[in-house]
Subunit: 217 residues, 4 copies
Amino acid sequence: LKAEKLAYLYSPHFPYFVHVNKKGSVRLLRGTFYFWKNKISKSDLMFFTGDSQAQTIEGQYEISDLVLDFAKKHNVKLIVTLGGYRMEAKDKPNVIAAATNSELLNKALEAKAMLSPLESPIVGTAGLILGLSRFKKVSAICLLGETRGYLPDPRAAKSVLEVLRTILNLDVDLAGLEEEIAKAEKIVTRLQKIEEKRILQTEEMRKEEDKKVSYIS
Amino acid sequence: LKAEKLAYLYSPHFPYFVHVNKKGSVRLLRGTFYFWKNKISKSDLMFFTGDSQAQTIEGQYEISDLVLDFAKKHNVKLIVTLGGYRMEAKDKPNVIAAATNSELLNKALEAKAMLSPLESPIVGTAGLILGLSRFKKVSAICLLGETRGYLPDPRAAKSVLEVLRTILNLDVDLAGLEEEIAKAEKIVTRLQKIEEKRILQTEEMRKEEDKKVSYIS
Amino acid sequence: LKAEKLAYLYSPHFPYFVHVNKKGSVRLLRGTFYFWKNKISKSDLMFFTGDSQAQTIEGQYEISDLVLDFAKKHNVKLIVTLGGYRMEAKDKPNVIAAATNSELLNKALEAKAMLSPLESPIVGTAGLILGLSRFKKVSAICLLGETRGYLPDPRAAKSVLEVLRTILNLDVDLAGLEEEIAKAEKIVTRLQKIEEKRILQTEEMRKEEDKKVSYIS
Amino acid sequence: LKAEKLAYLYSPHFPYFVHVNKKGSVRLLRGTFYFWKNKISKSDLMFFTGDSQAQTIEGQYEISDLVLDFAKKHNVKLIVTLGGYRMEAKDKPNVIAAATNSELLNKALEAKAMLSPLESPIVGTAGLILGLSRFKKVSAICLLGETRGYLPDPRAAKSVLEVLRTILNLDVDLAGLEEEIAKAEKIVTRLQKIEEKRILQTEEMRKEEDKKVSYIS
């Protein structure tokens, strides 16, 4: 969407190291707010992304609170937090939705999101923002995509964004993600091959060792 | 008793996740105060239950202090904290009592509670509230039921409530608990059968492996 | 010495549980200040003992600071912290001394205390009080007795108190400790016998298992 | 350079023990600022060394912030943080540089420092000072020498100081380090021999055990 950077959030609750980029430049871990002016309808968008979760319990609450305050100050009416939940998606990854009010939740369900079948908790900032939003009188919804969890997962991202697009009534082109999905599939396939090879080698080694053992006796 | 909700206690010392219910609604972890108007005598009751213990030492002290302050503000004269201690109860689970003054303690002992035979400490909010109550000039007693500890234990609950009923001179019907006890017994019996089966299987597997070993040599 | 209780130190940095005594009475973990009026010379004594070390780094500094402030307020001129260091004492346990000034340290060395041979750090309140005392302009010395560390050790206590008695020029009768030493020796001897028995049993079991193994092959 | 001590930095975020020296004297863990008056040019130098890293995340940020504030107050224009990164240097240890502005970084690269090939983070005070310096409007650069990491490494120190010397245009004699390097080489060689011996012994023991095993069957 080509949103503009609006503000950074720095905190001593983020990990105590700095990032170094390829050019040797250094920066603290931080959260970033972006702003996107909607030229068609009146719904502008603000984004928040972070390098890391807060590292202490109190820090988790403090950062979620700061993000909410900033949103409130900029007149945000609806907050959407995005995340993933660990599950091997069979086909198209599902999206689980939870929200602060049922009207909002229904919009997500209509957009093919599901209720959490297991009443599992939502951990971290994505969950706490929802929990704290009622005290700030802001509506909030959380969308979680099914993902393996150990790699960036554009397929899960696509599922989540499709729901989001419908809820916000936005015309976003997700074609760029298809390319990412193809790339990610290749990486996963390659990793699986490496893993298979590793298992085979381990078996070979065990057979060799078994031979050794029989040789001894 | 059908008590009414009076107030919630939220804190950044509770775990940093939110609960999601079956309807997709979200809430922070919290403590809840209930109030019960006594229509017969003058002793009204206030209850406090929590989703979780505070996650840091300082949080433990802070939450216990907040609960005491709230009770004090609402003119509470006697605080009873309830809990469990891990021990396999042979027959009817015992109840151990500790209190801030001996008069109060004696009431519990007359109601068939026991003194702690081992001078063991009381950990967490149930204990700290007692320890801190002397600074607020409120009487407090702690009742701990014998329990296996890894499952809700309605038999322990019943023992504790019987003592509590006598101390507070309340006419509470505990018949509903009998049903819970029957249910819980079934669950425990089922778990024990699963455990026995698991042990048998493990033994079978070991025997199989022993055979393998003899085969190799 | 029959010193009188002067004050308690409570802190949310102590562990979050309460002690229960034989009578079912409850109290928070705390530190206790005692005061002893010297009827012969002008040197009164103040004592501080604690149930537990502070549980966080910041708590360690805060408690040491509070103890120092209290001492300073009561006009204390010399602080002695006592402790142990883990080493199997061969004969009479040695006492290691460290101090904020050399004059004070020399007094301890004349009383047969030793310098630390290994420049090892002094961990916890006993050390931090010394480290912080220079900022409060109070002299301080730390005496550490050689001890096995896992049991109350009256022999180490006696060594430490003999040095302390000389430094403070006090006439304290340590005969009561002899009885304690005799008791402790008995406990240690009993524990050693249990340990020897356990080792023997373990060996027996291993032999049995060895037989099994040879039987299988 | 024979710099003078300027100030100490004490903090409850440092570990909770005190150092004892050979003379039985005690001191808290701390950071030390030194000052060196440049008699030739106008660039005076200030140094900061610490006994330990801060022990909590918030402490890490606080200490880095305090060091920066102190530097700012004393009109420091350029901050250089030094450190190591774990890698077995083949020949002469490399030096990796990262900086808050490219002009400064280029000076380091001209002095034969390298960019980080892996965009790895810089952990701890050396990194955070760089990350926080932009908010204080001070330039900062970090130089990290290749080192094995488990021993003082004068070869890595020499590499780092050569780069530093060029950046600061200082005439420092590093000949004293050559002696240190020779000493350190001997220690490493001795450790390697001990390690080789240990491996040999382990092998011997395994062979012995193999014999035992064959004997049993």
